[in-house]
């Protein structure tokens, strides 16, 4: 069949539109990148210690759990409309509690067991969520909200108070004396891994199912399997986030969940990952996570004392709303909203 093309005079093209992929990437990444640069400049004045070897190492150690959590959420967010994982904070804390409370006392603290446990539990839980969302077609918000409740309760049942010793080798991870930390290599490794993963056909299928599952289904894809795969990928990163959280805390803390979830959701949105599904890239998400982490540093330099907790809540909430607005504006600039509107109209 001959392809029908609109005459070129119908469509006015600007320079950017000849490079749609590059343009889309630039729009997604621009906001978090600019925010990061701005915050790094502010911190240069307010907290110059950040730019020492110690300061950078500390920052890497402290931001690793958030970055890995956001990578996990990116995979889930791309795979379905409204695909937001609210359970992430309490679940990462659950991995942390498990390592300290179950593995170490039983002499299973060597890296092999810890990694196997963390990644295994992460994949298992994410598979359950993925099946509930994919197979039973429940709303992701409800499934993950119930995961949030279950794990924030379970953490306190298992370990009522923050306590415990971590495996010896994780001491070095948390020591943060030089930039040369294991976390840095872990993060780089994950990022490279994601780079390969994002270029596979499978990742493209995830984007298709997330963007429009009707089209995906008609094209012969199985939305259930694809969503399950996206959740398995997320499970790997969630497990690694639990390990880095253990290294950061040097202990186990059952109450870490709620704040972590808000920070991760904010980072995801700042990073240009659309919660309507199908759109988002790891570079943006990671930059978003770094920006959120740096905002925390800036709030820390204000010396707010007891009011710090709610001022940071206020600021994260405001950043979340502003980022959503920017996302919707850039999204409509890309025609994403128009496409989404058309697809809803067809579906109704």
């Amino acid at each position: 069949m001959a392809t029908v093309r609109a005459p070129s005079s119908w469509v006015r093209r600007t320079g950017w539109e000849y490079l749609p992929r590059v343009r889309e990437a630039a729009v997604d990444v621009a906001t978090p990148a600019l925010l990061c640069v701005l915050l790094l400049i502010i911190l240069g004045f307010r907290f110059p210690q950040l730019y020492s070897s110690n300061g950078l190492a500390g920052a890497i150690t402290a931001s690793a759990p958030l970055i890995l959590s956001v990578l996990a959420m990116t995979s889930i967010a791309i795979s379905s409309p409204g695909g937001i994982d609210l359970s992430i904070g309490p679940f990462v804390a659950f991995v942390n509690v498990g390592i300290v409370h179950w593995l170490v006392p039983h002499g299973l603290g060597n890296p092999l067991y810890v990694f196997a446990y963390a990644i295994g539990v992460g994949i298992a839980f994410q598979m359950i969520q993925g099946l509930l969302i994919g197979l039973l077609r429940l709303q992701p918000v409800i499934v993950t909200l119930s995961g949030y409740l279950v794990f924030s309760g379970l953490n306190l049942v298992v370990l009522p108070n923050p306590e415990g010793t971590i495996p010896h080798w994780l001491n070095d991870w948390g020591a943060a004396t030089s930039v040369n930390t294991p976390e840095l290599y872990l993060l780089i490794g994950c990022f490279v891994l994601w780079g390969f993963f994002a270029r596979t056909t499978f990742a493209r299928n995830i984007r298709l199912v997330g963007g429009n599952d009707k089209t995906a289904w008609v094209s012969g894809l199985n939305p259930v399997l694809v969503r399950l795969g996206a959740h398995i990928v997320a499970g790997v990163f969630v497990g690694l986030a639990g390990i880095t959280l253990t290294a950061l805390l040097q202990s186990a803390d059952p109450t870490q969940g709620a704040a972590q979830t808000l920070m991760a959701v904010t980072a995801l949105v700042v990073g240009g990952v659309s919660l309507s599904g199908g759109r988002g890239r790891a570079l943006g998400a990671v930059l978003g996570a770094i920006a959120i982490f740096l905002i925390g540093y800036v709030i820390g330099t204000l010396n707010l004392g007891t009011s710090e907790s709610f001022v940071s809540g206020l600021i994260y909430g405001a950043v979340l709303i502003i980022a959503l607005f920017i996302g919707s504006i850039t999204g409509s600039a890309l025609g994403v909203r128009k496409r989404a509107a058309i697809s809803t109209e067809v579906s109704q």
Partner: protein, 343 residues
């Protein structure tokens, strides 16, 4: 002719069940949730000796009415196809703000009006943003909630109190309105009457007003409702405003209950409001359900809570169990259709 006769006879014999079937289908959520309620109550009576005592019933009714008032707003949002996750934060903010204003010497009715206006405005803003960013309404309300509570705490901590709690004297009428001991009309806690009145009012509003019908229309099919000139933006704003007002009512009542204000007063209501809506049988996809279903859901949740306390579960363990109950309940009503059904 001969073949038609058996057809007729079978049809006439099955006609009673055939006529009943669509009715049962339509009323399934009510039947299911009411059955669950009866079962939980029976389990309670059998396993906990003092379950059916007046004091225990009255305290369940009181705790249920806090949840019920907050869940009313959540029901409206769910019928519209959204969720309001800002409810716990608005409850906390109203709780703190009311006592703070009273401590400053503002008259009681002025305080209530001010708190109502503040919450209504924050709800309206949340509704407007949710409407603009349709697919992401859930996250918007989360962000709005954090901003509302953070701003309230910032305001309160301004004159060197810590922002997490406020102490002071709560008005007498508010304390007695939410006390298990006091009672009107045959020992009913007054807060329960507020809940009952609100439920009846909303039930009437959903059936008989343009707003109520518009909510169902928008929840059922946004495009079709738009074609029918249902004012979408106005309804989103109004619904989230009402939800914030009901959360504020809960916050003020909780102030009387606990005789002091804390920022995390609303924390349990983040999930329980959603759970009450879902367990009752209102679909979170929008367009199907009602306030009566949520009332049943609130009763079920309160009874289950009482059972778990009676059986000696700690608060975190209760959380785990209610979290595990929610998925099978949503699986009964709130499933999205398969892609092949939507093409």
């Amino acid at each position: 002719m001969t073949s038609a006769v058996p057809d007729l006879t079978t049809r006439s014999t099955t006609s009673a069940t055939a006529r009943l079937k669509p009715v049962l289908q339509a009323k399934r959520p009510v039947l299911v949730s009411f059955t669950v309620l009866v079962i939980t109550v029976v389990i309670g009576i059998m396993s906990i000796p003092s379950f059916w005592s007046l004091l225990s019933l009255r305290s369940m009714l009181l705790l249920g009415s806090f949840l019920g008032i907050a869940s009313t707003g959540q029901t409206l949002c769910a019928l519209l196809g959204g969720l309001d996750l800002s409810i716990p934060f608005v409850i906390g903010a109203a709780d703190l703000g009311t006592l703070w204003l009273l401590n400053k010497g503002v008259a009681q009715w002025e305080t209530l009006v001010l708190v109502a206006i503040a919450c209504a405005v924050s709800g309206a803003i949340g509704g407007l943003i949710s409407y603009r960013l349709k697919g992401q309404a859930v996250v918007v309300t989360l962000g709005v909630g954090y901003v509302v509570l953070g701003a309230t705490q910032l305001l309160i901590s301004h004159n060197s109190q810590n922002g997490a709690s406020v102490f002071g004297t709560v008005p007498k009428w508010l304390v007695s309105a939410t006390s298990i001991r006091s009672g009107v009309l045959g020992n009913t806690p007054p807060a329960a009457l507020v809940w009952l009145a609100l439920t009846l009012l909303v039930a009437f509003g959903l059936r008989r007003t343009w707003l109520g019908q518009g909510i169902y229309a928008l929840g059922g099919n946004r495009i079709a409702a738009g074609r029918l000139r249902v004012p979408e933006r106005r309804i989103w704003i109004l619904v989230f405003m009402l939800s914030a007002l009901m959360a504020a009512t809960t916050g003020v009542l909780l102030l009387g209950f606990s005789a002091g204000a804390v920022a995390d007063a609303g924390d349990p209501y983040l999930f329980t409001t959603v759970a009450a809506v879902v367990i009752g049988g209102t679909s979170l996809l929008g367009g199907y359900g009602g306030i009566g279903l949520t009332a049943i859901g609130v009763c079920i949740l309160t009874v289950i809570n009482m059972l778990l306390i009676g059986w000696g579960f700690t608060a975190p363990a209760q959380q785990v169990i209610i979290g595990l109950l929610i998925v099978p309940m949503v699986a009964m009503y709130g499933r999205a259709p398969h892609p092949r059904m939507r093409i």
